[in-house]
């Protein structure tokens, strides 16, 4: 019973770590590639074009 509870905690901790990592990745890509604030857009302009993001 205890072992089962522990392994269940282990699995959900793993999934939480994976979900958090995916969220961080998505946030970075959205920030660097998509957010249209003028300062961000101008700074990231060339790299956005070169990586095929919709830019203007």
């Amino acid at each position: 019973m205890t072992a089962q509870t522990q392994s269940r905690t282990g699995i959900s901790a793993k999934l939480a770590a994976i979900a958090l990592s995916a969220f961080i990745g998505l946030a970075i890509v959205t920030l660097a590639g998509h957010v249209q604030t003028a300062a961000l857009h101008d700074a990231a302009h060339d790299s956005r074009h070169a990586m095929g993001f919709p830019c203007h």
Binding site: I11, A13, K14, L15, A17, I18, A19, L20, S21, A22, I24, G25, L26, A27, I28, V29, L31, A32, G33, H34, Q36, A43, A44, H45, D46, S47, R48, H49, A50, M51, G52, F53, P54, C55, H56
Partner: protein, 232 residues
């Protein structure tokens, strides 16, 4: 688990980003700068006297530095997503050797760069384009549907799932990307096609490297974690 993903993603993403930025500066940026001369009206490809004789600007430390920063940032973001997917797969019993990283990387390229490019090719400054909002929505939808479709083909069992995978891969292109009402961009089509091809080529190189490095660092961090458990 989280530390392993964090360390692997940071190393793989940062290294890949630096190399990708270098490739972009050498192969993609000159085409972009050339096109900007048409966008600004310095050059004109209609009629006489519009030749490509004007000098294309060279290295601009501030501008190119920002490009290096944002390319590195973007690939670090992709690395987090890729390593998270690898961790999920390995948790389900899929073994990821360094060689397999190549397949993961190419699959990432298909989802994030090639599939969106089929409807919205990497665009030169000065190209005519539809509203930005709907294009971004289409981009996210296409990347998500393609990634899900590829994952179903790789890990799904049975023909029903493969059918769903085919639908997911096709749907974004049947729906179609938003296009402008008319094409009036000042950039020459020759430069636009060269730009799209170069952007995709450097993308494929970078994603292949990202896959290999992500698998390498993920394996290395996993072994280190196992070693620590054994030592304890």
């Amino acid at each position: 688990m989280f530390t392993r993903i964090l360390v692997s993603a940071l190393f793989a993403g940062f290294l890949t980003g630096l190399i990708a930025a270098l490739l972009q500066l050498v192969f993609v940026q000159p085409v972009l700068l050339h096109a900007e001369l048409y966008e600004s009206g310095t050059l004109n490809h209609f009629g006489d006297g519009g030749g490509g004789a004007a000098a294309v600007p060279g290295v601009d430390l501030e501008r190119d530095g920002l490009s290096v920063l944002f390319t590195t940032l973007t690939y670090t973001g992709y690395a987090f997503l890729l390593v998270a997917a690898m961790a999920l797969a390995e948790d389900r019993g899929v073994r990821i050797a360094v060689r397999q990283g190549l397949v993961w990387g190419v699959a990432g390229f298909l989802a994030v760069q090639l599939a969106p490019a089929l409807g919205a090719p990497p665009e030169l400054p000065g190209s005519a384009a539809a509203e930005i909002g709907p294009r971004q929505i289409w981009w996210f939808g296409t990347v998500g549907a393609t990634a899900a479709g590829l994952a179903l083909i790789a890990f799904g069992r049975g023909w029903a799932l493969r059918g769903v995978a085919a639908l997911l891969l096709l749907a974004p292109h049947v729906i179609g990307a938003p296009h402008p009402d008319e094409f009036i961009g000042p950039a020459p089509p020759e430069l636009a096609s060269l730009f799209a091809a170069r952007a995709l080529g450097t993308g494929l190189a970078a994603w292949s490297l990202l896959g290999l490095l992500a698998a390498y660092f993920w394996q290395r961090e996993s072994k280190r974690a196992e070693g620590m458990v054994r030592a304890a």
